[in-house]
C-alpha cells in the first residue's frame, strides 16, 4: 500500500474549476471591467508618459489584493488549507507593488512586444474555461491567482532587473505550489498556466534591463 500524489489532495477537480465560475459570478457585473483595465494598462505602457505609467503597478497591486480577498480567502482557502497563508503573501505583493509605483515607473514598451504578450496572456486565460467547458471559468489576471502571478512576471520586465527580483519571489512560490496542485488534480490544461508562469518568471529574472530615455 503506497501513497500516490493525489492521496494528499483534499478536494476534487470539479470543486477547483467551480472556484473560477464562482469568482466570475461574485464580480458580476464588474467582471468585464477587468479585461478593459488590462487593455488600458497596455495602452499606458505603449503611449503614456512615465508619470501616467505609474498607474500600471498600482492597478497590478489592486489585482493582487482583489485576488487575495475573493478567489483565495473567500472561496479557495476553505477547501485548501495552505491557500489562507498564501492570501497574505498576495497582500504583501500588493504592498510591494505600491512601493514600486512610488519609486520607479515602468519603461515604455513597443506595440509589437505588447501585442505578443497580450496574445500569450489571452491564450493562457482560456485554459480553465477550456477544461471546465464554460466561459464562466475564464481565468483573468487580477482576479485569479495563477494569471495574476504570470501577468505580473511579464509586466515586471518593464522595470530594471534589480527591482524585479524581490517582486518575483511570491509569484514564483505561488506558481510552484499551483503546478503541484494541478498536477495532482490531473488538470492538464489549467496546469499550463502556472507552468508557463515558472518559465516566464525565470526569463524575467534574467531578462536584461530595457533602458528608456524617458524613464525618469
Amino acid at each position: 500500500m503506497d501513497y500516490a500524489l493525489n492521496d494528499f489532495l483534499m478536494f476534487t477537480p470539479e470543486v477547483y474549476l467551480r472556484l473560477f465560475e464562482r469568482t466570475h459570478l461574485a464580480l458580476e457585473p464588474w467582471f468585464w471591467a477587468v479585461p478593459v483595465a488590462w487593455l488600458v494598462m497596455a495602452l499606458l505602457l505603449w503611449r503614456a508618459p512615465p508619470r501616467a505609467r505609474r498607474l500600471v503597478p498600482v492597478a497590478m497591486a489592486a489585482g493582487w489584493g482583489l485576488t487575495a480577498a475573493i478567489f483565495m480567502l473567500q472561496f479557495y482557502a476553505p477547501i485548501n488549507w495552505p491557500v489562507g497563508p498564501f492570501a497574505w503573501l498576495f497582500a504583501l505583493e500588493a504592498l510591494l507593488l505600491v512601493l514600486l509605483a512610488l519609486r520607479v515607473p515602468p519603461v515604455g514598451i513597443g506595440p509589437v512586444v505588447l501585442i505578443c504578450w497580450v496574445a500569450v496572456l489571452l491564450a493562457l486565460s482560456l485554459m480553465t474555461a477550456l477544461e471546465a467547458g464554460t466561459w464562466q471559468a475564464l481565468a483573468l489576471p487580477g482576479v485569479t491567482p495563477d494569471m495574476t502571478a504570470v501577468t505580473t512576471a511579464v509586466l515586471l520586465m518593464a522595470w530594471p532587473r534589480r527591482w524585479r527580483w524581490g517582486l518575483l519571489m511570491i509569484p514564483l512560490l505561488w506558481c510552484g505550489f499551483s503546478v503541484l496542485v494541478l498536477w495532482a488534480l490531473k488538470l492538464w490544461w489549467p496546469l499550463i498556466v502556472p507552468a508557463a508562469g515558472v518559465l516566464i518568471i525565470l526569463i524575467a529574472t534574467f531578462w536584461p534591463t530595457s533602458e528608456s530615455p524617458d524613464n525618469a
Binding site: 500500500m1 470543486v15 467551480r18 477547501i79
Partner: protein, 307 residues
C-alpha cells in the same frame, strides 16, 4: 432563495435534476432489512455500509455543490445508511456534513463519527468542542484519534469524556497499512470501542493479525479506502463481473468490493466516499441481500487477482 432539500422534496429533486438513478435494488418495492453488525462493546447494531467524506464533501461554501452533496447524503440515509465519517483534516467536510444533516433533518438517523487531529495532546477537549460546533451535534457517537497522532494523551482524555457521557464510543484510525504494529499494541492494551484501518480486496494485510485481534478483544472495525481511493475501479475497468458473482446477487464491481469487505467476520462497517448519486446507489446495494461465505470470498480473491 435556495430551497432546503428535505426528504419530501427528495424524489422531486431527483426528477428535476434528470439524474437517471434507481433505488438500491432491494429498496425498490421489497421490504428487506439492511445488513447490520453489532458493535461488540454494547451490542448496538450498525448498517455495514457507512459513508466517508475525504475529498468528496470538501466543497466549501459552493451553493451548487452543496445542493449536489445534499442529494448524495439524502440517498445514503434513504437507503438505510447511518455512519458518516469525517475529520478536521478534511477541509470543510465537517461543516458541510453538519449543514446538510440539518438541512435534510436527518440528525436522528446520523451516527456521527469524526476524529481528533492535533499534535497537541492537551487540546483534545477543545478539538472535540470545535468539531461539535461544525457538525451541530451535542455529542459524537464516535470520536477517533486520527492516524494515531498524539494518541496517548488524546485517548486518555477521550476515555474520561466517555466516562462523563460526553462521547458514546472511542477509537483510533490508521490507513494505507501504516503503523500496524503500533496499532496492534494499542489494541492489546487500551480499551477501544472501534479501530479504523485500510482493508479492501487488494490491501489485505489487516487479515493477518489486526482483524483476528479485533475479534478477540471485542473491537468494532471500520474499513477505510474500500475502493483503494477509487483505484480498484481502474483495475477492473472494462472487465465483466465474474459470472458466478452475478448469479450470487452481486450487482456490479462496487457491490463486489464492498461485499468482500463486510463479509469478513471481524468487520463492522465499510465507509466508501462518493460525489455521485449513481455511485451512492451502487454502494448502497451492498447493504442488502446475502453476504458471500468463506468459499465465495476465496473465489472473489482469486478472480480479482487474475484480472
Amino acid at each position: 432563495m435556495r430551497l432546503p432539500i428535505r426528504r419530501r422534496h427528495f424524489l422531486l429533486g431527483l426528477a428535476a435534476t434528470g439524474v437517471a438513478v434507481r433505488w438500491p435494488r432491494t429498496l425498490a418495492g421489497q421490504h428487506e432489512s439492511p445488513i447490520t453488525r453489532a458493535i461488540p462493546s454494547t451490542g448496538e447494531r450498525l448498517p455495514v455500509i457507512g459513508m466517508g467524506t475525504w475529498r468528496t464533501f470538501n466543497v466549501g461554501n459552493d451553493p451548487v455543490l452543496l445542493d449536489e452533496r445534499a442529494r448524495v447524503l439524502e440517498l445514503f440515509f434513504h437507503s438505510g445508511g447511518r455512519l458518516v465519517d469525517a475529520s478536521p483534516m478534511y477541509g470543510s467536510a465537517e461543516s458541510v456534513v453538519g449543514e446538510l444533516v440539518e438541512r435534510l433533518d436527518r440528525s436522528d438517523d446520523l451516527f456521527a463519527a469524526t476524529k481528533v487531529w492535533t499534535r497537541d495532546e492537551r487540546d483534545t477537549r477543545a478539538a472535540v468542542a470545535e468539531s461539535e460546533a461544525l457538525w451541530g451535534v451535542g455529542r459524537f457517537d464516535l470520536m477517533q484519534v486520527h492516524n494515531l497522532l498524539g494518541w496517548e494523551g488524546h485517548l486518555e482524555t477521550l476515555q474520561a469524556m466517555k466516562a462523563e457521557g460526553r462521547l458514546r464510543y472511542i477509537g483510533v484510525t490508521t490507513s494505507h497499512g501504516r503503523r500496524h504494529e503500533e496499532l496492534e499494541r494499542i489494541m492489546t492494551r487500551e480499551p477501544l470501542d472501534f479501530v479504523q484501518l485500510t482493508y479492501n480486496i487488494a490491501d489485505r494485510e489487516a487479515e493477518a493479525r489486526l482483524l483476528p485481534l479485533a475479534r478477540e478483544k471485542g473491537i468494532a472495525v471500520i474499513a477505510n479506502r474500500p475502493f483503494q481511493g477509487g483505484r480498484l475501479f481502474d483495475r477492473v475497468r472494462s472487465q465483466p463481473l465474474p459470472g458466478w458473482a452475478g448469479d450470487a446477487g452481486v450487482s456490479g464491481w462496487a457491490d463486489f468490493f464492498l461485499r468482500f469487505i463486510v463479509s469478513h467476520p471481524a468487520m463492522t462497517c465499510a465507509i466508501p466516499a462518493t460525489t455521485q448519486l449513481a455511485h451512492m446507489r451502487e454502494n448502497m446495494d451492498a447493504l442488502y441481500g446475502q453476504l458471500p461465505d468463506e468459499t465465495q470470498r476465496q473465489r472473489m480473491i482469486n478472480d480479482f487477482q487474475e484480472i
